[in-house]
Symmetry: C2
Subunit: 338 residues, 2 copies
Amino acid sequence: MTIKDIARLAGVTHSTVSRSLNDSPLVATATKERIKKIAQDTGYSPNSFARRLVTRRSNTLGVFFLSRGELNFMENFGTEFLDGIATASSSNGYDLLFFTMTRELSQKKSYIGLCREKHVEGVIFIGMTSDDPQLEEIASSDIPVCIIDFQLEGVGFVSTDNEKGTRLALDYLWSKGHRKIAYIGGPTVAPVAMIRERCYQNYMVEKGLGPFLEIFRGDFTTKSGYAQTLDLLRSEKLPSAIMAANDYMALGSVKALKEKGLRVPQDMSVVGYDNVLAGEYADPGLTTVGQDSTEIGLSAVRYLFDKIQNKKPPLTRLINPCLVLRDSVSSVHNKDVP
Amino acid sequence: MTIKDIARLAGVTHSTVSRSLNDSPLVATATKERIKKIAQDTGYSPNSFARRLVTRRSNTLGVFFLSRGELNFMENFGTEFLDGIATASSSNGYDLLFFTMTRELSQKKSYIGLCREKHVEGVIFIGMTSDDPQLEEIASSDIPVCIIDFQLEGVGFVSTDNEKGTRLALDYLWSKGHRKIAYIGGPTVAPVAMIRERCYQNYMVEKGLGPFLEIFRGDFTTKSGYAQTLDLLRSEKLPSAIMAANDYMALGSVKALKEKGLRVPQDMSVVGYDNVLAGEYADPGLTTVGQDSTEIGLSAVRYLFDKIQNKKPPLTRLINPCLVLRDSVSSVHNKDVP
DNA sequence: AATACTATTGCACACGTGTGCAATGGGACA
DNA sequence: TGTCCCATTGCACACGTGTGCAATAGTATT
């Protein structure tokens, strides 16, 4: 079923049919309606390849997704990003072409070259790593690019607002009466770790207290969270709550506290960051800060659409995080009431 | 840069160029080489839309992925499926079109209709649910379909070999000297749960013992694993190992054992099933049975390719599972040596 | 040497859709 | 009533690639 078939049925030429289906003002309203009716009834759907050939527009976005085989820390976020991306593009009539990035591919074929070959109008990278050899090529790409959770000079960037997230958790602790809040930070080489840590410091200073104890630092692993917490417990003054820069360290912290005979949350509250799956099944369920991964995906697509339409969208978008309430935090006055 | 441009450069017609690049035997080897050289040097890549228009083949597979918004139990497997699928299709020169399935979409647009519209040659479903209203339409689809982890009359089906997996875990326990192996099964309404449970029974009978204790049954949640284990510990005879039908129940089991003062694995070994993320960060690390998710993805694609080429591939493929060794199992003779 | 056969190339059309330009017809205005 | 203008439609070409058939040239066969 092509527009020619419809043309025959309607007694017009394929030009008129084409114009009708594209809502051209050049065609009489009556004929337009008649033709649309026929298209509807016959279940016509346009041949996208023919259309793309002549319009020179593909209506397609590309997604490059880091392969699971490579070391990555995406947890389950990846599918949520994809969810948002797919929803946003399909609701705008765009197709989504999916690729995986492996170390092998990164050295063999050009991502941007692939995009050009597939006539992709815009591309999103998920799980980009700083050792990827194609970073410069991506930065100088003439087709619109947006990278999730990875900042690269001059290209679109969408991520969570880490500052707002940390503040969200601290506000929550504060509202529960906590004042003695200790912090276990991440490694200094990780940009997000430093952002979150700085925010903690500012927050405590704003409240007129300053950081409780010096800042302990782990390396984002459960083991390091465990070790740092044991260190922390050796201090002369004890906090009423511990915030960790990510969930895995928070879980390690809980483990250390339990081993030392402290109950969570009755004796000590703990909050993490990231909303990792393990935190949901942990005991107690870990209160944490989660990112709105679907919204991040949506935003990435919106950026690309703006870019495609030659609007000048801001390069970076920070998405509002959300507090995930579970059972690892209690009010401070409950502390002595078991 | 089109074949016409190359034709001009080579002093031939576009027909010869087309034939050369497609390795037609109709063209002289010398010209063929010369033309290929030019194509190489100019960085020519064919316009896939034009090609698809005329060949009436899209070289494209589709993937429908259950949206995270809908209740699903895919954990992190989803991205590994995708990984395998993308790898297999791209290495065969196929593109991959990505869609998400939401409840809304399932009632508004036809999946198969979408596939037809996009000229997809084969389609894979990930996360299909039994309440999807389009199951019959999928079953009677004329375009090749393969569903992962969901069996539907007459359509391709790829999944893990649950029988082999259970046997793998039991063999491991057996090799560690365990003979008193208790089992916590899943809900009777879950097909995989029944397969795994039956296999446990057969195994124990084969070994001349029969099941140790009656079979306890949970509902796949951590809570139920916890409760069933407490029940189990009230028996007059105690096992040396517990196998659970999935990881979440196994984690619940560990929790119950710890609370009762039993050390895992010194006093009691525990194995799970599924290789869920939480098991990796649990304490002790959970020994379990994992599926080779990437291989499942690869197999799904292979099935589609066979189907597309009119071979008659078997409808169902069961992929070999693998044992994931961590720290929740010890040898039985260590039991009394702390 | 004439003929037949084969290897190689070009011509022309097809795939389905979009669009500039010409053609047609009808209505309004003088 | 004649002219002009505008609304509507058709004609023809383009997009880039593939392929059946004809044409040509070169080689082998008799």
